[in-house]
Amino acid sequence: MSYKVTEEGNVATIHLDGEIDMDVTEKAKEVIFPHIEGGKEVHLNLSNVQYMDSSGISVLIESHQKALEKNTKVIIKDVSKSVLKVIMMAKLEQILNLE
């Protein structure tokens, strides 16, 4: 997994790239969580993530819940068809902020 972060005002945009599985979840958390804990609104762009397993879905849930605690939000943008399918299988499309 690779990533790119850009910041503008109170928004951190994080582009993740590659396959998100158990092997990279700690790295994904290290990239995402500090921005949430700093009170930023996080835009998580998943257009280049073609595979995500339950570990990756857990990172999305944890990010969403952390953001609520910090009175901010995580918006998942441009989710690929294959990852959307997994999000829907987990019945999270109404829980997570998808754009």
Partner: protein
Amino acid sequence: MSEIAHQNHSEKKAFLVNSSSLRDVRSFCRGVFEKLQINNDLKEELVLAIAEAAQNIVKHAFKNNADANELMVVQISCESNKLQIAFYDRGTPVDPKKVKHREIDNVKPGGLGTFFIQEIMDAVEFKDGKRPWINHLVLTKQL
């Protein structure tokens, strides 16, 4: 159910029991499913189910602490359009009664892997592992 008569085929491969192997497990599965001419949507669902089962071996049967040379084996077989995926490992014996996913409406991190496997596959069965194996999981799906 698939309208294609998939050829009978069987392949197996051993992988080190660690999270870095999951990518290799997926790659192996995709290769076999391409040979079987399984369509892309179903192929990726099956890859997810298999990778989740392999992840459960790494995470639960070995508690993320397998010896460096410890192996798990994945065997994919297709016969008469019935797909069977077998997993063999030497981790802590699995008690099938304790293998449960979380309540799907109780949204929290974790507990989804087994749910995905059950959603995707027709049947999930733990069989007695024959030496040298301890656990023997079999997933099946009619194509």
